[in-house]
């Protein structure tokens, strides 16, 4: 069978695309390797999604989006995509379990994963004090000392979140000011548990079986210190989950997919939406807009 549309990834972009595809009566499904949600699932409270003035938890938002997509008949199937290949006018999606799915159109909505620092000790101590998910692992650090690395929205929001559990939260940032939006900055600055370590980079995470300290270097003075810690939470940005299509369609150097305003990629029939796409603002609100646009583009193309 040749499907109309397969959406790869069940985060907000994919689920929004599914709502629009379902309403347009396109045939197909979402392919998701876990359960729908994506990065939103690690978010405690989403405070900037329009229509929820009191915020909404990541869980709830995902549940509502999934329910909404289901309502219009575009389902979710389990599958881990390994590659996409051209097959004449169609596209073959190759899955890890060797299944092959043939479709006329694909929307890539695979999102992104956290970026690693790439320092000594990071990989070895992941799960042993090094974490990329404050909402998952914060409760393990009750009355302990943790550091957050980064200066963007996620880093600052998670530093504030971690202050609920930890006795002390250091925020280590390589610049002398934060990139995070003002409302988050103010919350962090007024939090007594949070201490800022400016102009500094983490060079090594130290400890045998558990994180014991980090080696921090001040980039302005060159001074090196060892900061005793129990946990290190790393929020230094994201990497697009696009390895499987980098030879197929155009991306930038980091792997973010290039599209036009219809979300069309360099290959006919392949669209991209959400955090895997090259764009200025990586947010749920832009992800859903792009998912909708991509599904609309498919609908127009098939009409």
């Amino acid at each position: 069978m040749i499907h109309d549309l397969v959406i790869i990834g069940g985060g907000p972009a994919g689920l929004a695309a599914a709502i629009y595809a379902g309403r347009a009566d396109l045939e197909g499904f979402i392919l998701e390797k876990m359960s729908p949600g994506g990065q939103v699932l690690i978010t405690d409270i989403v405070e900037n999604y329009p229509g929820f003035p009191d915020g909404i938890t990541g869980f709830e938002l995902v549940e509502k989006l999934s329910e909404h997509a289901k309502k219009f008949g575009f389902g979710v199937e389990n599958g881990e995509v390994e590659a996409i290949e051209q097959a004449g006018e169609n596209l073959n999606i190759i899955l890890a379990d060797e299944r092959v799915i043939t479709t006329r159109n694909v929307i890539i909505a695979t999102g992104a994963t956290h970026r690693r620092l790439g320092v000594k000790g990071e990989e070895r101590l992941t799960g042993r004090g090094v974490s990329y998910c404050a909402t998952c692992d914060g409760p393990f650090f009750r009355d302990q000392r943790v550091a957050v690395v980064g200066g963007g929205d996620s880093a600052v929001q998670e530093a504030v979140f971690l202050s609920r559990f930890a006795s002390k939260v250091y925020l280590i940032h390589r610049r002398d000011e934060l990139r995070a939006v003002k409302v988050l900055q103010e919350r962090a600055f007024s939090n007594e548990k949070i201490e800022f370590i400016w102009d500094s980079v983490v060079e090594e995470i130290e400890g045998q079986d558990q994180v014991k300290s980090v080696r921090v270097r001040n980039v302005k003075t060159g001074e090196v210190t060892h900061l005793p810690l129990d946990g290190v939470f790393i929020f230094i940005g994201i990497e697009p989950a696009t390895n499987f299509v980098r030879d197929l369609i155009e991306t930038d150097e980091q792997g973010f997919i290039k599209t036009d305003e219809w979300m069309r990629t360099s290959l006919k029939g392949v669209y991209a939406a959400g955090d895997c796409r090259l764009k200025p603002l990586l947010q749920i609100v832009t992800a859903v807009a792009e998912g909708a646009t991509a599904a609309f583009a498919v609908e127009q193309e098939m009409a």
Binding site: K33, M34, S35, G37, V40, L41, I42, T43, G58, F59, N78, E80, A96, D97, T126, G127, R128, G129, S131, Y132, C133, T135, C136, D137, P139, F140, F141, D209, Q210, G231
Partner: protein, 109 residues
Amino acid sequence: MSSDKIIQVTDADFDEKVLKNELPVLVDFWAAWCGPCRAIAPVIDQLAEEYEGKVTIAKMNVDENPATPGKLGIRAIPTLILFKNGGVVEQITGAVGKTVIDNALGKVS
């Protein structure tokens, strides 16, 4: 709603159900507050069906059972630990796709 092939393990019966189990046991350490734990739940369900009789798939709620994760040094969830004959064969931290877990289970089944 999880597969009925999955066994629930507590601090009280961890030794008996996991360490003394004749089969290899994969334990999924999770908590209700953890998004990625929820995300991998369907994968764990699927594994329980596929490895029935070869590997026991178990879940431990770390909120209700703090002693065992403490002893094992677990400071992140989801953490999946594969035990065989009472020893740790493999430990996987964070939400991963089915392939990664399949590869680990392949070593013992």
